[in-house]
C-alpha cells in the first residue's frame, strides 16, 4: 500500500495542511560505463516540456473535485449521505469530513483498503490532540499559514509509515 499525498481543508476551503509522500524514484538508465558520448537526452528537453503544477495548484484542484463530488452525493443520497472515496485506473482518493466541516483527503494507490477509519483516526488521535488542543494554534487560518505543528507532523509521518500492519 502506498500513500501519495494527504490534505486537510478547513471550513473556509483553505488548505491548512498538505503533505506528499513520493515513492523512491525509480532509476532507469542505470550506468553507462566508459561511454565516449553521454546520451544527449538528459536534462533540458524534459525540463522545458514539463509544465509542472505546483502543490498549491494541486491542492486547489483536489478541493474543487472533492467539494463538487460531496455536493453531488448529498444531492442524490440526501443530507445524511457522505462521500467516501473514488478510484480511477491509477489511484484512489479517500475522503472524510468532520462535523465541523474540516475535510481530510488522502490519495493512495489502488491496492489499499478503505482508509475511512484511518482518516478518522488521524482526526481524533492526531489533529484533535495536537492541533485543536494546542492553545497556541490559531482556530482560523487566513492567508494559508496552515497547521504548523511539529508534533502533529511527526506523528502523522509515523502514522502513515505504520499504516500497512494496522489495516
Amino acid at each position: 500500500m502506498v500513500v501519495y499525498s494527504f490534505y486537510i481543508f478547513d471550513r473556509h476551503a483553505e488548505c491548512i495542511y498538505k503533505k506528499r509522500w513520493l515513492p523512491r524514484p525509480a532509476v532507469i538508465g542505470k550506468s553507462r560505463a566508459n561511454s565516449e558520448l553521454p546520451a544527449p537526452t538528459n536534462g533540458l528537453p524534459a525540463a522545458i516540456g514539463q509544465s509542472d503544477r505546483t502543490t498549491d495548484d494541486d491542492a486547489k484542484l483536489i478541493f474543487g473535485t472533492v467539494f463538487s463530488l460531496r455536493n453531488m452525493v448529498r444531492k442524490l443520497g440526501g443530507e445524511d449521505d457522505s462521500f467516501v472515496s473514488y478510484c480511477t485506473s491509477q489511484y484512489q482518493l479517500h475522503y472524510y469530513e468532520t462535523p465541523t466541516n474540516i475535510k481530510f483527503v488522502m490519495l493512495t494507490d489502488l491496492k489499499s483498503p478503505s482508509m475511512r477509519v484511518a482518516l478518522q483516526q488521524i482526526y481524533i488521535n492526531l489533529f484533535v490532540e495536537y492541533v485543536v488542543k494546542n492553545p497556541l494554534s490559531p482556530t482560523e487560518h487566513p492567508g494559508g499559514i496552515g497547521v504548523n505543528n511539529e508534533l502533529f507532523e511527526e506523528s502523522l509521518e509515523q502514522f502513515v509509515v505504520c499504516l500497512p500492519p494496522r489495516l
Binding site: 525509480a26 553521454p38 538528459n42 442524490l76 449521505d81 473514488y86 485506473s89
Partner: protein
C-alpha cells in the same frame, strides 16, 4: 442487486438520457440533472489530471578513468549539459582519488504513472454511504453513469450490456441525431426488460 438509475452524458458534457429504475435516490429536477451531468463531466476531467506522478530520475552515469589529460574533456562534456552541481562534485572528488574511476552523474527528473501499463482514466467508481456510482466511458467519450447499491459487486457486466443496448437501439436508430437527447422507445423497453429480468 439494485440498480437505482442510469445517466448518459455525451462527449460535450450534456445530459442525453436519465432514467430511474428503482427508488432509493432522491429525485432531482430536470435542471438539476443537467447541472449534475455537466459537473460530473468537469470533475471527471480534473480527476484524470490530478493523477499522482512518481518522479523518475533518469540517471546517466559517465565513468571515466581520471587521468589528468582526460579531465578537461569530461568537464567540458558536463558543462555542455549544464549540470553544475555534478561538475563541482567531479572536480572535488578527482583530486582525492587520483587513481580510482571518477563517477559523475547528471540527473534529470521525468515522471511516471503509478501503474505504468494502464492508460490514465478519470473517475471510475465513486462510493458513498448510500450508493455506488460506476462510470464507464466509451472510446468516443460518451459516459454511462450507473447508480447501484453499494453492496452490489458486479457492475461491469451490467454496464457493458447497457452499452450494447445503447449501440443496438440508439446508435442504429436512423432517426437518432448524434449528441441529442435519447428518445428511443425500443431502447427504453429493452433496457427496462433486461434489468427486470436480472432481479
Amino acid at each position: 442487486m439494485t440498480v437505482f438509475s442510469l445517466i448518459i452524458i455525451n462527449k460535450a458534457g450534456g445530459l442525453v438520457y436519465q432514467r430511474e429504475f428503482q427508488p432509493g435516490l432522491r429525485k432531482l429536477s430536470t435542471n438539476d440533472y443537467l447541472v449534475l451531468a455537466g459537473t460530473f463531466h468537469g470533475v471527471h476531467a480534473i480527476t484524470r489530471s490530478i493523477t499522482p506522478k512518481i518522479p523518475l530520475s533518469t540517471t546517466t552515469t559517465t565513468t571515466s578513468q581520471s587521468h589528468h589529460q582526460h579531465q578537461p574533456s569530461t568537464s567540458s562534456i558536463l558543462t555542455t549539459h549544464k549540470s553544475t552541481p555534478s561538475v563541482s562534485t567531479a572536480t572535488a572528488t578527482t583530486p582525492s582519488t587520483p587513481t580510482g574511476p571518477s563517477t559523475s552523474s547528471s540527473t534529470s527528473t521525468t515522471h511516471a504513472l503509478p501503474i505504468p501499463g494502464t492508460p490514465v482514466t478519470g473517475l471510475e467508481v465513486l462510493e458513498s454511504d448510500k450508493f455506488r456510482l460506476t462510470c464507464f466511458q466509451t472510446l468516443t467519450g460518451t459516459k454511462f453513469l450507473l447508480f447501484t447499491d453499494p453492496l452490489m459487486t458486479t457492475v461491469e457486466p451490467v454496464i457493458r450490456k447497457i452499452y450494447e443496448l445503447y449501440a443496438d437501439f440508439v446508435m442504429k436508430n436512423p432517426f437518432y441525431q448524434l449528441e441529442m437527447p435519447v428518445r428511443c422507445e425500443a431502447f427504453d423497453r429493452h433496457l427496462g426488460g433486461w434489468l427486470r429480468g436480472r432481479v
